[in-house]
Amino acid sequence: MRKIHLLLLVLAVVCLGTWMGMRKPYSPSDDLPLVTYQAFDVAGINDEAGEALAQKVREWPGITATTFNPSSDLLVLSYTEEHTEAALLARIQANTSVAVSKKVFEKPAGPACPVPMSLILAFPTYLFWAGVFFSTCLLFSFYFLPFQRRFNFD
């Protein structure tokens, strides 16, 4: 049992210590809602109609910014998680006579990290919860097991 306690203690200290080392300092931007950026191709729209469409979309709840660029014929939005790309595409299409499609940018050439960025960013959080888990197991083994023996649960 002592070996298990020691193992749990080491795991908890390693996980929480690594998490402490990797943890970024707090910044108020950490509390901001997540947003997604999406460009829609609105080729064929005239400048005034494009600006008007961008202005109209900007007024929808959950849209944090819009840009219509007449030289690229792109309508770009930033939106919070209450929207989905497909729903926005359909809603924008319903507000204009020109065909709207999602702009797909060319994938850049060159090497790319095989590990998803979301996993890299979430790694410290996983370490923290692993540390909490091992700490809880350690405390549980101290307090619950003697209690269990006292009442002969096993």
């Binding site: 306690h5 203690l9 908890a12 200290v13 929480l16 402490m20 943890r23 970024k24 300092p25 707090y26 910044s27 108020p28 931007s29 950490d30 901001l32 997540l34 947003v35 997604t36 950026y37 999406q38 460009a39 944090t64 910014a65 819009t66 840009t67 219509f68 660029n69 030289s71 690229s72 792109l74 309508l75 770009v76 939005l77 930033s78 940018f105 060319e106 994938k107 850049p108 790319a112 998803p116 960025m117 979301s118 960013l121 540390g131 700490s135 350690l138 405390l139 101290f142």
Partner: protein, 151 residues
């Protein structure tokens, strides 16, 4: 032995819990950060700036991989907000790489840098940021050019 391990475990738990309480919400009223309108206004300008960039044919190819990946986009957005916020005297801490590190090997041209500045100015104009504050902000960000262009 058992008691000392218990004590160690309790102390560890307490110290990690206390680490959550290091938020610093203090701000002095004379900083550029306050005159810009705080984190909410900076966040709104940054969103406008990034939508301008994504719509800008001169530079949007540079951001294609970032825009295609929500986690990378979020990281870029938060880094930009933190950089503007910290540079203007706000309570944020920039957590990203240095400008030199993050632009090394990209061979960014003057034209691309100027296009980016143009997109930022357009975002500031859209929110009617006064000329004085705009100049102060650009003076903070301008010196970064030497670490970005031609690296």
């Amino acid at each position: 032995m058992k008691n000392s391990i218990r004590l160690l475990a309790i102390l560890l738990a307490a110290s990690f819990t206390l680490n959550f309480c290091d938020k610093d919400d203090e701000a002095t009223p004379t900083t550029l950060y306050d005159r810009l309108g705080g984190i909410g206004a900076i966040s709104a300008v940054t969103d406008q700036f990034l939508t301008n960039v994504v719509g800008d044919n001169v530079i949007n190819a540079r951001f294609a991989a970032t825009v295609a990946n929500p986690a990378r986009t979020q990281l870029l957005r938060n880094n930009l907000i933190d950089q503007i916020c910290a540079g203007s005297g706000g309570p944020c801490q920039y957590k990203g790489k240095t400008m030199l590190e993050s632009h090394k090997g990209m061979n960014i041209t003057d034209a691309e840098f100027n296009a980016l500045v143009g997109d930022l100015v357009a975002a500031l104009d859209k929110f009617k940021v006064p000329q004085k504050e705009k100049d102060e902000l650009l003076a903070i960000l301008g010196p970064m050019k030497s670490d970005i262009v031609g690296k």
